[in-house]
Subunit: 448 residues, 2 copies
């Protein structure tokens, strides 16, 4: 467990206010091993996806989304809804619901048992913020600048097997899940297997600190970073609503920044697929047995097919165990089909591994030549414990050369402590409003 | 009641196989009274919307759609699904469901009580044919040619108040609903009120007769002709599926004809709105209290807003009764807002008028200067009884001059008999497989 320090008086832990930036995949996150062939520009400003758990009739779904790696956007709303005519708000809400329905801004409704297994049934509009939230342009640019540096850092950390094993040695003893991940990591190290092509689709979550006005990082997601698909649609929805009601609200749709996260994620997956260089191979999405955020994933697959003609298949870890086959040359077949890219939208939580079958599947994929997004190393590099290690003095310097980059990263580090630190634990018990307790693993949510 | 003769051995009454053509609005259906200013080209080939109640997991919904003025497409499928690998069919079905979800090809799920009242909740994919159905090009062109002639005919018939009253005099005695419509019609005749701008959004339903290879008309819908919105999407879906699987199926997506029904309906509504010439007025959709086919309507309103900046409001007949106000100059206000165009997606069935309130609303709108789509005259002109009258010798000649046009219409007339004809009733009892029994009113479905 890690305890994240929080002094955001405007955001309670319950409302889980986090700005979600879709990090831009870049050289370090998707590169060949000798780093001679950058596939993405470095340090380019990246667009971002903002999704807020709003006040629409979706409180229940919002809770569900958090479990499913949900995102919530921070800050004060641009408009104080209490000051607006109720009839106008109802009109905007109605239009937002219609727009979401017609444009695929959907999730499965957990009231419908089939909705997590089949597309096209039991659908409900995604939980959304009715209107965009203000965010300082300077901090937005800062977050965009940070994205490629974090990607570079994660890539370098992922290549240092000893650092990962050592840093997580203590966690290994108390956390059976991380322990199993580390076992796979050890086996890969023993094989002396190098991931020559590496792909990361990351999302860095920030809070704006009210007191210091600093952009503080909450966590960096290296596995199953969701909402690239739906987040873009939220941007489109907000633009449409402001085109229609902006005058009444005193808001200008042109001030909403662009959001091309879906396209960028698809582009990155397509580049990885191209690098793998087997035109008959597919991209495989590793999915949970029930997935109510499936339309976010389907958008990505749709763009991947339409723009790059890359076909995807969807398999659970159990299906991969039963249908998967590793050929001597490293080719990974599922149901007889070669897999170029494995994109994890499952496998980040202990519940994704109910039996040995799922662990076998994870190991098999890791041993193959398929490009894993993420590899076991990227997955481990994204744990809170590693985030905590990287925040210690002189650790960043081991992985990055540029002092400027290091300074930029440090500036966004919020305090991060382990529960074994008795002083800080005592302080947290005394003043719980200053802290956020986060689980070690992925999957969203906080511990209250 | 009318009995429609049917000799289609390939289509049983139960499966209700009807090809639905979206008739093109044209001069006669949308014209000023002196007919000097045609707003739509005459006799231009019109695209059509085909929607088939398919074999997807939607048998229940299909039933619902029939009640809600559903459409089903006829003919043999291009591909014999029994000959195709089951795995391939499952893939196509999955893709079709994903596509429908992401692109708004939706209806409300009647298992969800809220789904008929609120958008964005309890949604399910629309019932669709998985693949397009073959249809002879010559018959398609014939149907396109017929559309403007039928529009012209309906317009002329609508202007002959005496013909409508006389033809429906017998129906009036036995059908309370038609009787109420005729009462409104009489009041309007007494007022000597002329509809100077008339708008019709029609759909003509045909069957292909297997024995004679003739295109036979089943009915002509002048009120609440649905599926312009979803029908276009089905065309897009089929094109996408054939782009992906056409090679496996031996089908070419380029052979699917274009479908611009949504755009044409929106264009017609926008032209009517422009003719009304009050930039602050809205278009009003008259809706049922529960409407699970709402997304079909929302697509139309979305295009109307995006392309023509015409705002729409949605009101039930009861709401119109309580919020409506007729000004001395004929202006119709609802909730204080001037209404330029009234577009009926309700009001065609007796159940739409549970009390006197709804009838008051209908009369009030009819008395106003708002452009009704349809007017009471257009509504009555679309009844089966009028269709039957028009099929009698020398009746078409009263309304149309062109012998060529008259011949074209006659060619597509299927036999149509009233139940008062004892000979035909006897024949129908002896050979029920040769007949379809249709209700006098709108609302779809057959009587078995």
């Amino acid at each position: 467990m890690g305890v994240g320090h929080s002094s955001l008086s405007s955001c309670s832990v319950d409302s889980l206010c986090i700005i979600a930036f879709t990090a831009q995949p870049k050289t370090s996150s998707f590169s060949n091993s000798n780093r001679q062939k950058p596939l993405f520009p470095t340090k380019k400003h990246s667009p971002f996806a903002v999704l807020k758990i709003g006040t629409l009739n979706c409180a229940r779904v919002a809770g569900e989304m958090e479990i499913g790696k949900g995102i919530a956007a921070a800050g004060k709303p641009i408009v104080d809804l209490h000051g607006i005519d109720d009839g106008l708000i109802q009109k905007i809400v109605y239009d937002a619901l219609v727009w979401s329905s017609l444009h695929g801004l959907l999730v499965g409704d957990r009231n419908d048992q089939r909705s997590g297994k089949l597309p096209g049934v039991g659908m409900v509009h995604a939980p959304i913020a009715l209107l965009p939230t203000s965010f300082p342009e300077s901090h937005w640019k800062q977050a965009c600048e940070l994205a490629p540096i974090f990607n570079e850092l994660i890539d370098r950390v992922s290549l240092d097997g000893k650092f990962l094993q050592d840093s997580l040695a203590r966690t290994k003893k108390v956390d059976a899940f991380t322990s199993r991940l580390l076992d796979i990591h050890s086996k890969i190290l023993e094989m002396n297997k190098k991931e020559e092509i590496r792909l990361g689709l990351h999302r860095s979550d920030y809070m704006l600190d009210e007191k210091t006005k600093l952009l503080l990082q909450i966590e960096f997601n290296t596995i199953s970073s969701s909402f690239a698909g739906l987040g873009c649609l939220v941007t489109d929805l907000h633009r449409t609503l402001l085109d229609d009601y902006g005058e009444d609200l005193g808001l200008d749709s042109k001030r909403i920044p662009g959001n091309t996260a879906t396209g960028q994620f698809a582009e990155a997956l397509a580049k990885a697929w191209t690098e793998y260089n087997n035109p008959r191979a597919v991209a495989m999405i590793v999915v949970q047995t029930e997935e109510r955020n499936m339309y976010d994933q389907h958008w990505l697959c749709t763009v991947l097919k339409e723009r790059y003609n890359v076909r995807t298949i969807r398999k659970t870890l159990a299906e991969i165990d039963s249908e998967g086959q590793l050929l001597p040359d490293g080719t990974f077949l599922v149901g007889g089909q070669a897999v170029a890219v494995v994109y994890f939208r499952a496998g980040y939580a202990p519940t994704d591994y109910p039996s040995e079958s799922e662990w076998r599947a994870r190991l098999l994929m890791e041993q193959s030549s398929a490009i894993k997004c993420p590899s076991i190393s990227y997955h481990l590099a994204g744990t809170k414990k590693i985030q905590q290690e990287l925040a210690k003095p002189n650790v960043l310097e081991k992985f990055l050369e540029s002092k400027e980059d290091i300074a930029k990263l440090r500036k966004c580090f919020a305090g991060l402590w382990s529960l074994v630190d008795s002083d800080i634990t005592k302080k947290a018990i005394e003043k719980p409003e200053l802290f956020v307790m986060k689980p070690q693993r992925e999957g969203g949510g906080s511990i209250s």
